[in-house]
Amino acid sequence: MDKRREDEEEGEEGMDEDSEDSELLRLMARHTQLNDLLYAHHIIGGYDAIETRQGQGLCLSLPTAYDGVFLETYNLEIDVKPTPRIVRHNIPPFIPLSDLVEQSDMQTDLRTFLDTLSQHLNAFSGRKQQLKLLKELHKSVEVMESNALCSILVMMVTVPKEKTDVLCTLDYSDHTRCLPTRVHFECNGKLLADSPDWDKIRSLLLETPVHKALSDMRTMGNIV
């Protein structure tokens, strides 16, 4: 503002151009700042919303990440009028998209719907990533069963002392979480009775991502 007054005093002709220029520069600076803010929002995994078809559509992206690594990005294309409805998406069929749409009001609270969907997708990506890492890092552990949703994992581990094989089943029945809700062990067809060792392993598997839990179990000598 002071500079402006100085300019005013300097000469009348130059004044208008200068203030227009500085106004323009200010706007440009603000524009760049907003663009940077949007880009930052995009990088940290925010939903990018783009208008399509001259305001009739809205395209959103839902990035997923696990353990500090970006994984799959999913997209939704929504028709805004007359009521918001999803026209196109690349979300896998085992994610209960239609259920989530029914349970929320897209018109008034799109954000809640997106947050819940993002929870499901992030949890799925996380479980999938854990399974991938398990297969890569622990070749001695055999994955006996898994499914597309990665909500169940059955693996065979070998106990060094008795040289027996134990079947570990991890149930991820809460599909919004990356950790299992239930863990049980079977040896020779029967459930392993409660013992302090297996209880410890059970809590480890319930609280730590499976690939890390297996590394810990290896270090502690519980499994081969």
Binding site: Y39, H42, I43, D48, I50, T52, C59, S61, P63, F70, T73, N75, E77, V87, R88, H89, N90, I91, P92, P93, F94, P96, E145, S146, N147, A148, L149, S151, I152, S173, H175
Partner: protein
């Protein structure tokens, strides 16, 4: 080994191309190292079959083992014959927690009850796919292993893929599937193709879809083709727009390989110059079929090169969008029914 098992093996060896014999037998994993050594893969097939039959007799194998071999071959080479997609509808509350052993038991027991006698073999493949082989019999004969039906399903998804199923067998299979997956109904998904992987990828959205975005995806490699500054493309912008719209409609990169798309028209004839036809009350029935070795690739190219107008008409973009390649088009007003459609532009 009884006669039917022998015949089955002879048929199977004849069917498997010579270059696949070795790998298939390896995957089957039943031959010992010594037996494998003794097999001569260069001799004519009839001699090879005789040798294999001898080994089967030695080991006391039965038709069961041969069907296992057949299943091994089909799982690795599924692209023979036509595959049809079905969709399970209205899941019960516990549909999401159906697990493998439960499904296997339930399916086998339901199907055996519905279609006695029947021979069912279920195998889970490494990629979470459940493969089911069904040999059907009737009140007069034992299960016919020469014409089995194959079914593929991924648990927790609504899709089932079937090949070699007759209309008589369909209701039994449908019922068994519905009961064992805890759904209330099953319907035809109007999608068929020769490549199992393609129709599966299309429905499970396992191909690269393109959505409008103002940013490149995080950590994506950008192949910036260094263009020659000496060459200027006329209308580069419109070409770029067309390509973008074509990719948004069909996808990027490798597309699932469909062979055809069929439109059954039941619309009234409309042509001002032909009064006789236009005045008719009944709809003009005709069938339009697009065929190609890679239909989606062809359609995408049509749109990108300008042969087909962009934005891509819903008649074509519905193929990947709705995951179907059979459409019935009627004159009804725009309605929500999945079968009746009208061009919207």
């Amino acid at each position: 080994m009884d006669d039917s098992a022998r015949r089955l093996l002879q048929r199977l060896i004849r069917r498997i191309p010579a270059q696949m014999l070795k790998t298939t037998l390896e995957k089957w994993g039943r031959l010992t190292a010594a037996q494998k050594q003794s097999m001569d893969f260069t001799e004519p097939k009839w001699a090879f079959t005789e040798r294999l039959l001898d080994i089967c007799e030695e080991n006391g194998w039965t038709g069961k083992h041969i069907t296992e071999l057949e299943m091994t071959y089909v799982i690795d080479n599924p692209n023979q014959g036509m595959w049809y997609a079905f969709q399970l509808m209205d899941p019960e509350d516990d549909a999401r927690s159906v697990e493998l052993t439960h499904f296997k038991e339930q399916f086998k027991s339901h199907l055996s009850e519905l279609a006695r006698p029947v021979s069912v073999k279920i195998k889970k493949h490494a990629d979470d796919a459940i493969w089911i082989r069904i040999a059907w019999g009737d009140s007069f004969s034992r299960p016919n292993h020469l014409k089995p039906t194959y079914v593929v399903h991924h648990l927790q998804t609504p899709y089932v893929f079937v090949t070699s199923l007759t209309s008589k067998q369909k209701p039994f299979l449908s019922q068994a599937l519905v009961l064992s997956t805890r759904h209330q109904a099953i319907k035809d998904a109007s999608l068929s193709g020769r490549k199992l992987g393609a129709i599966r990828d299309l429905l499970m959205r396992q191909y690269q879809q393109v959505f409008p975005t103002s940013y490149p995806s995080p950590l994506a490699e950008r192949n910036e083709t260094v263009s020659n500054p000496q060459i200027e493309k006329e209308q580069a912008k419109s070409a770029e727009n067309r390509l973008q719209m074509a990719c948004e409609a069909f996808g990027d990169g490798m597309l699932p390989q469909l062979q055809s798309s069929v439109y059954k028209l039941e619309t009234k004839f409309k042509d001002h110059t032909n009064k006789t036809m236009t005045e008719r009350e009944e709809p003009f029935r005709c069938v339009v079929k697009f065929a190609s070795t890679n239909l989606l690739e062809s359609l995408r190219h049509c749109a990108a090169s300008g042969i087909a107008s962009t934005p891509v008409t819903p008649l074509l973009s519905s193929i990947p969008l709705k995951g179907r390649n059979y459409f019935v088009i009627k004159d009804n007003g725009p309605g929500p029914s999945s079968q009746t459609r009208q061009t919207q532009n």
